[in-house]
Structure formats: C-alpha cells, structure tokens
C-alpha cells in the first residue's frame, strides 16, 4: 500500500485478555517503530526494529508487552493480560532508514480495556 496501515482501528477488550495489534509498514522501509499515545500525553516510545538487528525494546513498559517483526515487514504488538492503564492509541511508524530518518505514521489502533 501507499502508507503505513494498522489493524484493527479500534479494539475493546476485557481486563486480563490478550490483544494483538498489527502494523504493515511501507514496502522497502527498513525501520519500524511502535509508540503509545495516551490521552493528553505525548508519544511514548515502545520498541524499534531496524533491519535484521535485535530490536530496541527499551521502551516497553512491562514484560506483558512484546513485539515481533516477521520477514522484516509486518509487525505485531502483543499485550498480555491487559490492564485498564493499557488503554491508549498505539501508533506504528516506519522509515526508509533508521532513527533520524523521517517516520511515516499509521492511523493508529485505539485500545480500550474495560
């Protein structure tokens, strides 16, 4: 596609359930990023994939959060045993090169944990 796509656009889940959020980056982009945007907050960096290198997981808030990127393309962010404080918009971005290059953002997935 022409841009970064994310699915689902909205996800409502019950506390304690696991959720998977998907990101399809722009074809050919080597870097992929996940951010969390809570109401009234800025963008909180979660994880960064660059090519075949080990991902930078320094932003993941707890071990309930994990992400993988298969084949250097599609990425899935998994949140296990969701908590109400996980409610936020999860944004994915990709860039042709790594950090320092322009990031192209997807529309986000709005997660609501009841």
């Amino acid at each position: 596609g022409a841009g970064v796509s994310q699915s689902p656009s909205n996800k409502v889940t019950e506390k304690g359930k696991d959720v998977e959020l998907r990101c399809d980056p722009i074809s050919g982009h080597t870097a992929l990023y996940w951010y969390r945007q809570s109401l009234g907050q800025g963008l909180e960096f979660l994880i960064y994939f660059q090519g075949n290198s080990a991902p930078d997981k320094s932003g993941l808030p707890s071990d309930r959060f994990s992400a993988e990127r298969t084949g250097g393309s599609v990425s899935t962010l998994t949140i296990q045993r969701t908590q109400q404080e996980d409610s936020a918009v999860y944004l994915c971005a990709s860039s042709f090169l790594g950090l320092g290059d322009e990031q192209f953002f997807g529309p986000g997935t709005r997660l609501t944990v009841l």
Partner: protein
C-alpha cells in the same frame, strides 16, 4: 538524561496571527530535530526536519523552524495562522540511536 520539552500544553491564536511553538531539549551538540503535526482524526505528518547546515529550516504548509544551539531550542513558527492549522504539534529530537518526542502542544485557532 536526554529530554525534549514543549513548555506550552495548549496555545490559542487568532486566525491570521503569527505563531511560535517552543521546543527545548537536552542532548549533545549535534542532534537531529523534527516537527510533526497531528490533525484531528489523522496520523502524524512531518512538517520539517533539521540535520545540519542552515539553521533556519523551511517546511510544508508555510512553517519554519530555527535551530539555536546556544539555547538548545528548535522553535516552530508561522507568520500567519490558518484555521486548518488547528492540530497537535510534536517536536522530536534525537542523537545516534536515541530519539524522543515531546508531549505535544495543542493549537486552537480562533476565527
């Protein structure tokens, strides 16, 4: 520790007035800097970026930003605001493999 600060959470300006959004950072001497805009219901879009060279950077939609090393600032400006500029604006600063976004400034434009 590295940080990016956008001191103004919310700014209101009248249509046609000038605009300046502040961004301060604590990084080394050679950061790379960005401004992104998030319009209601839309994804973030790059307005402009600075890596090196001329410290006054021109971006899209009539925006510009000036890198002032001595003040550790990268303020965004526009001489005449349009109603369509109402949005959330994010400054991002990085060095090497460390990049962070500010908390954002919400711009409201009065008719």
């Amino acid at each position: 520790a590295q940080s990016v600060t956008q001191p103004d959470i919310h700014i209101t300006v009248s249509e046609g007035a000038s605009l300046e959004l502040r961004c301060n950072y604590s990084y080394g001497a050679t950061p790379y800097l960005f401004w992104y805009v998030q319009s209601p219901g839309q994804g973030l879009q790059l307005l402009l970026k600075y890596f090196s060279g001329d410290t006054l950077v021109q971006g899209i939609k009539g925006f510009e930003a000036e890198f002032k090393r001595s003040q550790s600032s990268f303020n965004l400006r526009k001489p005449s605001v349009h109603w369509s500029d109402a949005a959330e604006y994010f400054c991002a600063v990085g060095e090497g493999n460390d990049m962070r976004f500010g908390a954002g400034t919400r711009l409201t434009v009065k008719p």
